[in-house]
Point group: C2
Chain length 523, copies 2
C-alpha cells in the first residue's frame, strides 16, 4: 500500500466507522458524551444591521452550520460551494443522482421511490450526537430508528465453518457460552484480588449464568438463543448444536460483533426519514441563495481588515470581500490554493492527511434479505466488501437498496478497478453471504470517496495525542488574526462524524462571537 496507515490512525478510522470495538488493549470506542451535554451552538450576539460579511468556503455540514448560525444572528453570509450540491460527505444517492467520481461518473438508476436510496456518506446518527439531533429538530428533519446489530444477520468468514455464513445469534451465543464457562471456572478456581463474600459470589455466578446461558453445572451446552434446528411454538423444538469456540476464533467478526453494540455504534442510532441529505437540505432551505454552487475558490488573501476570496463561477472570475472567512475546504486541497496564510498554519494543515473509503450499493430486485428473516442491520464478512447493510426502512415493500461494500480506511482494492469490475467483485463476494445474490441485485453504484471530484479524500486522518499534535490542533482550531477559521471534522479530535463538523463550527463561531462582543463593548 503506497499510503500506509499507522496503527493509531487505523484505530481512529475504525472509531469513526463503527469498528473501534474490534480494537484491543489500546483504545476504545468513543463513549457517550456526558449526560448533561446539550447542543453546543453558542448564543451569538445578534447584530443590529447586516454590515458584517462572512464568506464560508464549502457547503458541507460545518460550512452550513456556520452560515446558518451567522445568518440567524444577522451576518451577511455567502457560501461558496465548488460542486453542484450541498452536503459534502453527507450524500444520498437515489434515482438520477450524479456520482461525480473522477474517472467513474455515474447517474444512479435505482427505481424512483422515496425509500429507494443509499446514504453513500454519513449514514447513522448516534443518540449521543446532540448537535446533529438539535439541528434535525430545529430544521424539521424527521428521524427514524436505525440499527447496526441484527442477531439474524449473517457472519461469513472464509476461516470459519468452511466459509458458510452463520447467524450473528449463533456466533455470539456460542462465544458468550464459552466466555461464561471461562468466568465460571475463574470464579471457582482463581484467587481473586478482592475476594467476594458468599453472597457477592452467588450474584456474580448468577450474572455469569445469565450472560452465557450456562446449565446448572456451570457448563455451556448450547442455547436456544442461537436458534432452533427445527420446531416452532406448537411443536417440539430441537436446539441447534453448540459450536466449539475454537471453530469460530479465526473469524474477524468474532471480535467485531462481540463488541459492536458498545459505544458510539450501539443503540440508539437514528437516520433521517428519506435520506441523510435531508439534513443539508434543511440548512440549504434556510440559506437559500446565500449558497453559490459550482463556485470554485481560486485564491485567498487575508488582511488585518478583512479577507478577499477569488473564485470562479460560470466561467467568470469573481472576487468577494468579507470581514470573516470560515474555511472547510479539505486541507489537502487548500494547500494547493494560493493563499497568504502564515507558514506555521499551512505547515500545521499539512499534518492532516486525507482519508480513503469505498462504498457500493445495489438495488435488490426484491427484498431477498427479508425472506431470510433479516430486517435491517449488518452482515459481516472477511471479504473486501466487509459489510452488507440492509435498509431498516421500507419494510415489506417490493424492493430496497442494500449497501454492498463498505471498505473504510482503505478502499484501495476497489479503487483500482473499473466500475464494472467493482460491481462484479461486490457480487462475487456478496454471494458468499447470500447464495442467490447475483440473481437478486441490480443497478449497482460505486463510490471511492478519495476520488470524488471536489473532495479527493474521505474523513481526515490524524490523531491528537502527542504534545506536538496538541500544538498543531491548537494552531488550527484558533483563528488566524481573528478573521479566518478552519472548520470541518478535519479540525476535531474524532473525524468523520457530522457531530464533529458541527462542534468544530461552534468552536469557531464562539471565538468570533467573543471578538465581536469585545468590539461592541469597546465601540
Amino acid at each position: 500500500m503506497s499510503n500506509p496507515v499507522s496503527r493509531r490512525e487505523f484505530l481512529n478510522l475504525l472509531a469513526a466507522t463503527g469498528g473501534t470495538a474490534a480494537v484491543i488493549g489500546i483504545t476504545s470506542a468513543l463513549g457517550m458524551i456526558p449526560s448533561s451535554a446539550s447542543a453546543s451552538a453558542p448564543e451569538l450576539l445578534r447584530l443590529s444591521n447586516q454590515n458584517r460579511k462572512a464568506v464560508i468556503l464549502g457547503a458541507g455540514i460545518s460550512g452550513l452550520t456556520v452560515a446558518y448560525e451567522l445568518t440567524k444572528a444577522g451576518y451577511d453570509c455567502t457560501v461558496l460551494e465548488s460542486s453542484h450540491r450541498a452536503g459534502g460527505r453527507v450524500f444520498t444517492v437515489r434515482a438520477g443522482t450524479l456520482i461525480d467520481e473522477i474517472g467513474n461518473p455515474q447517474y444512479c438508476q435505482f427505481d424512483d421511490e422515496p425509500h429507494m436510496y443509499f446514504n453513500a456518506g454519513a449514514a447513522r446518527i448516534p443518540s449521543t450526537h446532540t448537535n446533529v439531533l438539535h439541528y434535525c429538530k430545529e430544521l424539521g428533519v424527521d428521524l427514524e430508528l436505525f440499527i447496526n446489530e441484527n442477531k439474524m444477520a449473517w457472519i461469513q468468514d472464509d476461516n470459519i465453518m468452511g466459509g458458510k455464513p452463520i447467524r450473528n445469534a449463533e456466533l455470539t451465543t456460542n462465544v458468550r457460552g464459552f466466555m461464561a464457562e471461562l468466568m465460571n471456572k475463574a470464579m471457582s478456581e482463581v484467587e481473586l484480588d478482592k475476594p467476594f463474600t458468599d453472597e457477592e459470589a452467588e450474584l456474580v455466578l448468577q450474572m455469569i449464568h445469565a450472560f452465557g446461558d450456562l446449565n446448572a453445572e456451570g457448563r455451556y451446552t448450547g442455547s436456544n438463543r442461537a436458534g432452533y434446528a427445527s420446531g416452532n411454538y406448537v411443536t417440539h423444538t430441537v436446539q441447534k448444536e453448540m459450536i466449539d469456540v475454537r471453530n469460530l476464533l479465526r473469524a474477524n467478526a468474532v471480535r467485531q460483533v462481540i463488541s459492536d453494540n458498545e459505544g458510539e455504534t450501539g443503540p440508539m442510532l437514528m437516520q433521517p426519514v428519506g435520506g441523510m441529505d435531508r439534513i443539508p437540505a434543511g440548512f440549504a432551505r434556510q440559506l437559500d441563495s446565500r449558497i453559490k454552487y459550482k463556485a470554485q475558490v481560486l485564491s485567498l488573501n487575508l488582511r488585518d481588515d478583512g479577507v478577499s476570496v477569488e473564485y470562479q463561477q460560470d466561467g467568470q472570475r469573481q472576487l468577494i470581500e468579507a470581514d470573516y472567512c470560515f474555511n472547510s475546504i479539505p486541507s489537502h486541497f487548500m494547500n494547493g490554493i494560493p493563499n497568504n496564510l502564515p507558514t506555521e498554519y499551512t505547515q500545521a494543515m499539512k499534518y492532516i492527511r486525507r482519508g480513503t473509503a469505498y462504498k457500493g450499493a445495489f438495488q435488490g430486485k426484491e427484498r431477498f434479505w427479508e425472506k431470510e428473516g433479516i430486517y435491517g442491520g449488518i452482515s459481516w464478512t472477511n471479504q473486501p466488501i466487509r459489510q452488507i447493510w440492509y435498509p431498516p426502512h421500507g419494510i415489506h415493500k417490493a424492493k430496497g437498496v442494500v449497501l454492498a461494500a463498505y471498505d473504510y480506511g482503505n478502499g484501495m482494492a476497489f479503487t483500482r478497478m473499473t466500475h464494472e469490475q467493482r460491481i462484479e467483485a461486490m457480487i462475487v463476494q456478496g454471494e458468499k453471504v447470500h447464495s442467490n445474490y447475483r440473481s437478486m441485485v441490480e443497478k449497482g453504484v460505486t463510490i471511492a470517496w478519495h476520488r470524488m471530484n471536489h473532495m479527493l479524500g474521505c474523513s481526515a486522518r490524524w490523531n491528537v495525542v502527542t504534545p506536538e499534535e496538541e500544538q498543531i490542533f491548537s494552531t488550527l482550531q484558533h483563528s488566524v488574526n481573528g478573521r479566518y477559521w478552519l472548520i470541518g471534522d478535519q479540525v476535531s479530535k474524532h473525524t468523520a462524524w457530522m457531530e464533529s463538523a458541527m462542534q468544530a463550527a461552534h468552536v469557531a463561531l464562539a471565538e468570533l462571537d467573543q471578538r465581536v462582543r469585545a468590539e461592541s463593548a469597546s465601540a
Copy 2:
C-alpha cells in the same frame, strides 16, 4: 400472594415478556426459529361453494387468523366477539379508547394525534415471528423498527449507587470489564479442559480484550464506552471513573441487561406504524360483517354432525348452527359456559391457568426523555413498575406516550389500588428514574389485564414439559370429533405472543383441512 406462581411458570412468563434472559441455569429465552422457517399457514383446499359453515369464538389474533384463512378458502364464517372490538390482548389505547377494566373503566384522554398511542397488550414483533410478519405483509400493515435495548436509558435500583439511576452503558461497560478481567485471569492461570494452541489463545485473548475494553496489561480501568465525565469532540475528554462491579451486583437489572439483547427480545424487533391494533384491524377489514361484536356465547353444543352455539347480542338470544367451531375463549371463561365437551377435554382445559399482568402509561407533556438523550428503548428499575418504555416513533414531536409500568406475571400490587392510587404509585416510582417525572406526565391510563372485561386474565400460564403435560397439550391441540378446536396462544408451548396464537390457529386449520380433503377424496 394468594395465587403463587411456580418457578417454571415464572420462567415461562418471563420468556413471554422479555425477561427470560434474567433466568439462570435452568432455561433460556426462546431462541430463533429455524432460518428456513417461513409462515406456517396451511394451503387449504379451496371449496367450490360456501356450504361449509364455521363459527369462530373470539376475535383475537387466533380467531381472526382462522376466520381469515377459512374465508379465503370459501368457508362461510361467523366470528362471535363478546366485546366491542377485535384484537383481544392486541389493544392499542389512544384518544377516546375505552379501557373496559371491571371496577376501573376509563376513556383515554391522550391528545388526538397519530403517534400518541400506547400498545397496552402485544407491543413488539421479533423478526423471527414469521407468521406475524407474513400477515402484516399480506394485510398491508406497515412496520417500523422497535427496540428494547438503549444504552442511554437508565438502570435504577435502590440496592445500588444509593438508588441513583445510571446509564445502561455505564452499568454494562463496567460489568463487561469485570467479566473480561475474570476471563483473562482464567486464561492465564487456569488449566483449561482443552488447552488452546498459542495462536488460539492469542485470538481468545483478543476477543476478551475487545469484549471488555481491557488495557494492555489485561486490566479493566474504565472505558469510554461507559460515557465521558466531561468533554466533547473538539476538547479534551475525561473518562468516567470505573465502578467496582461489587457496587452493581445487587441490581436486579444486572442480570437482565447483560442478557436482554439475546433471544426473542434482541434485535430486530418491529412494531406496526400507528399501533399494534393495525394487525387486527387488517384482518377485520377483510372479514367485515362476518364479525359480530358484543355477541356473548351462552352455550355450546357439539354433535357428530355439527355444532350449535347459543349467544346473546343486543339483548336477544340467538342460535348459530355450524359445521365447525374454533374456540379461542380463555379456558377459565369457557369452563363456566355450559357445554357438552368430553370430560377428559374439560379436565385438560382446567390445567391452563389464567395469567395476570399490569400495564400503565402516561402522556408526556413534552418528550422529556429525549432531553436526556433517550430515543426509544427501556429503562429498568427494581420498583414495582419494573420498566419505563420510551416511544421509538414520533421522535422530536411535541409529546409522546411512555409506558410507565409493566408488571408482568403478577401485577397484583397495582391491581388492588384505585385508578388514582395507581397513577400516584407510578409517578412516585417513576421519579426515582426521572427526577422531573411528576411535572412531566399526565393523563395516565392503567390496565390490569386479569380484570379486563371479557378476558379476566392475561396470557395463559402453563408449561408443556412433563409427560402428563404433553398428554394434556395433545388433547387440547387436537379436535374433538373433527368439528371443534381450541385455539389461541393458550394452546401453544410459548404463550403470550401473537406468533403463538397464529401457529395454534394454523395447527387447527391443518387438521380441519386434512379431514375436508379426505371427505372430498371419498365423495
